[in-house]
Every structure is written in C-alpha cells, then in structure tokens.
C-alpha cells in the first residue's frame, strides 16, 4: 500500500468513514444468490454466462454462477444478476 493509501486507511479509522470511499477499494454487496453489486470497479475484464471478472484496485473480483448478466454498468457501479455461486476477490 502506498503512502496515500495508508493515510486514507488511518483517516477512515479515525473519523469512522466508509473505507471504500476514502481508500478507493471495491465495495461488494451480495443479495442472496441472485445479485452482486460492485462499486469502485475498474472495468469489465471478462463476461461469460458462467463467469464475470471485474477489475478492482489491486486485483479483480470474479463472480461465478449460471446465466450471469451484467444488469447495469456505469463508471462507478456494476451490477451482476443470475444464479450466483461464488464471489472471489483476488
């Protein structure tokens, strides 16, 4: 982690701020087995019905399942719908 990252982490801890806003790391919300929302993503890497890979700061988020669809994608937010089995942050 670089210097600004460490500063952001300290600031977020001190002021009790949401870390994904301060540190620019992905924020992943999973709703049951049907929906995954990734905020602060770094673009779509791969898109297949059984696997969707989303870029993130310092790695990637892999979503595995069946009939996967990128329901919505904007610059900041990416929502995946389908029968989700596994979400991996690498």
């Amino acid at each position: 982690m670089n210097r600004s990252g460490r500063f952001g982490q300290r600031l977020a801890g001190l002021l009790d701020l949401p870390r994904h806003l301060v540190m620019n790391v992905p924020y992943i919300a999973i709703t049951g087995g049907a929906q995954v929302v990734v905020e602060n993503h770094r673009g779509l890497r791969h898109c297949y019905p059984d696997r969707i890979v989303v870029g993130a700061t310092g790695g990637q988020v892999t979503i595995r399942g069946e009939d996967l669809v990128v329901a919505v994608v904007t610059k900041d937010e990416l929502m995946v719908c389908g029968r989700i089995r596994e979400v991996t942050l690498e």
Partner: protein, 393 residues
C-alpha cells in the same frame, strides 16, 4: 433503477450486438465516456448490450478504436412504438372507435334483474318495469328511477317497497314483498262444534248456532257443544261458531328407585386420531377397535386458523374414549322424592297446549319399599271446542 429504465423506455433504447476481439475493452471505453449500458451478456462470440438512443452515435468511434463491429439487434421504447403506430394509421382509429363504442354502449341498460321476489313473480315485475320504460336497450339518462320505483309499488300487487339501482349496464330492481297477516281458520260449510277432550265447561260463548251444553257441565271428548242450526229453531242447518272453554286436568307420574345404577369413568382411556379432509376421515392413529365395552367419547377438533370466510378444508380430530363402568348408588328418600316431584311436574307442565291457563297443581306421593312415585295433577282452563263439518244428509 426503475426510474432510469422507465426513462429509457420513454426516450427509446437499442440492443446492440458487438463483434470483435476486444469486447470487454469496448464496454470499458463506453463507460469511460460516461455512457450507461445495461443487460450486457455474452451470446456466443458476441456481446449483447442495451444503450440509450442518444448514446448510440457515440459508440461508433469507440467501435473503430477497439476494432469491434456493431450491429443493431433490437429497437425498443415509446418512439419506436409510436413510429409503428404512425405507419398503421388505422390502428389508432380502430382503438379510438372501440373506446367510443364502449363508452356509448355503457350509456345504455342491457340487463334488468329482480332481487327479493319470493311470492311475486319476477317476470311480472320485469313486465311492469318494461311498461314503465325500464328494459334492455334504454339509455340510462332517460330513466326516472324515483317514478319507476313509485309506479312499481302501485302497479305490482304484493310489493310494499321497490328500489332501482343502476350498476354499469345492469339495472337491479330490489323489491320487498308485503307480509300478509295469517288468516284465521274459517271453516266453510255447515257443521257443529264438539269437544276435543274431556272437561268441565267453564265458559260458553255462542256466536252462531244453538248451545248443546251449559256452563258447569261435564263433557267428554267428541260430545256436541254447539249445534249448527240457523235461526235458533232448527229452520236449517248452518255453521256453528263460538268459544267453549273448559277446565281440564293433566296427569303425569314419575317413579324414582332408591338404588340406582349410574355410569362412572374407570380412569382408562384410549385415543384415536383422525385427519378429516372435506367429508372423508382418514384414521391416523388408533386404527383398531375401541377396547372398551362401555365408553363415552370426547371429541376435540383442531383446525388451521381461518381468515375472513376462508377455512382450511382439513382438520385433525382427536377422539378420546373413556371407559365406563356401572355402579350402584343409594340415594336418600328425600332426594328420590325431590327428583320424582321435579320430573313429574316438568312432565305435566310440558303437556299443556299453548294458550291454556294453568291452575292448581296437586302432588300425590306413593312411597314404596324400593321406589318413591309422584303423581302430579294439573288443572287448566283451555279452549276445547273444535269444528266438525256436517256429514252428508
């Protein structure tokens, strides 16, 4: 999200098919430009995505940059629906025509119904209503409901109240029928009044005919009380009318033994559980015969909670069989007398016909070595006259 989709439906959106080596790169470039994509999915070697109508021209340079080719896969939203409708000019006209037809036809009454008619014929009510203008095919605004209601009550015999309700294309005539008081029994033809039971005549009122008995006289059942003659001197045979009240007696006897056999639970019980489905019962537990000779059954029904008037058609019924045994008990003479007296009195009072005026009650006790008996005698004043039509001459 819904608002956004609704907005894109109103402004129109396209489904595009992206071919080429850098499909994901194309999507990322579009995002970097601030474009909004949705329903991005893989279809073979291509990627399908949806974009707003305004964003589509901006995608061409991106496609060129990422060596992709774009194909239009579908057009959706109101602008395309509108364009489709503009091409089919007759469709909106037909839709408008149907709407106008529905509007016009609902201005008329097409069904007339009658509710509340039990004695009165509903066809008669409909007939009169049709005569007053309330019939299928009549415009709603031409109906004077108050006048029709008023005239219905006057014109249809047997109606005391009428109300006409208009529900869409239906006219419902609610009626309330007149309640006729029951007619007193009027025997027809000549005949006499005879005694229906034994007694002593206490009151004699002759309205027509000639009295055959006098007050204070003892009469027996079937005896002539008022003779049906006309003119008072046997000029002709007519219909006797009058009131004959007599003092009559009713008796009841009840015997109670001092030693009585009563049933008592032994403490043993046996349970059978049954699942009731509609009218059928399926034995869940306790399929064999009831193991007691003498028993009484206690039934407990458990149903699912009902909601409004909806009830589950299944219930669990538990039959608990309690074994009984006969035991002999000794009761005191006073208690036996009391029971016998109560039973005899209740029995004799229950035999009085309606309208009879009960008089004094005489209790006679007959005590034996094993039992005590009570005879209750109740005097009453009641109407004993009954009409007997005259036989053929």
């Amino acid at each position: 999200m819904l608002t956004l989709r609704l907005w894109y439906y109103v402004t129109g959106y396209l489904e595009i098919r992206i071919h080429g080596p850098g499909l994901e790169e194309f999507v990322n470039c579009a995002l970097a430009r601030g474009l909004f994509l949705w329903r991005v999915r893989r279809d073979g070697d291509t990627l399908l995505a949806r974009v707003g109508l305004g964003a589509f021209p901006q995608l061409w340079p991106l496609a060129k940059k990422t060596s992709c080719r774009l194909r239009l896969a579908g057009k959706y939203g109101l602008p395309f629906v509108w364009r489709h409708l503009r091409r089919r000019r007759l469709l909106p006209v037909a839709a408008m025509g149907v709407a106008i037809a529905i509007f016009v036809f609902t201005r008329f009454i097409w069904l007339v119904e009658v509710t509340g008619a039990k004695q009165v014929s509903p066809y008669r009510v409909l007939e009169v209503a049709a005569g007053l203008g309330l019939q299928p095919g009549v415009p709603r605004h031409m109906l004077d409901l108050k006048d029709i209601e008023h005239r219905l009550v006057l014109d249809v015999p047997g109606i005391s109240w009428a109300k006409v309700r208009l529900q869409g294309i239906r006219a419902i005539i609610d009626i309330v029928e007149k309640v006729q008081p029951p007619l007193p029994y009027q025997p027809v033809g000549p005949g006499d009044i005879v005694a229906s039971r034994d007694g002593i005549v206490s009151k004699l009122l002759v309205l027509a005919g000639e009295p055959a008995v006098r007050e204070g006289q003892t009469v027996t059942a079937g005896q002539l009380l008022i003779r049906g003659v006309l003119g008072g001197h046997g000029i002709g045979y007519g219909q006797a009318r009058g009131q004959v009240k007599a003092r009559v007696w009713y008796q009841a006897y009840c015997e109670v033994p001092y030693r009585q056999l009563i049933t008592n639970r032994t403490g043993r019980s046996w349970v059978r559980e049954v699942v009731a489905w509609l009218d059928r019962e399926i034995i869940w537990k306790g399929r064999e015969e009831v193991p007691f000779e003498e028993y009484e059954v206690f039934t407990n029904r458990r149903t699912l909670p009902s909601w409004r008037n909806i009830r589950a058609p299944v219930e669990l019924i538990t039959y608990t069989y309690y074994e009984l045994q006969w035991i002999e008990v000794q009761i005191s003479p006073e208690e036996a007398l009391q029971r016998a007296r109560e039973n005899a009195e209740a029995s004799v009072r229950g035999r009085l016909p309606p309208g009879a005026e009960p008089g004094e009650l005489v209790i006679e006790v007959i005590a034996g070595s094993q039992t005590v008996g009570v005879r209750a005698t109740l005097a009453a004043v009641e109407e004993i006259g009954s009409f007997r039509p005259a036989g053929p001459p």
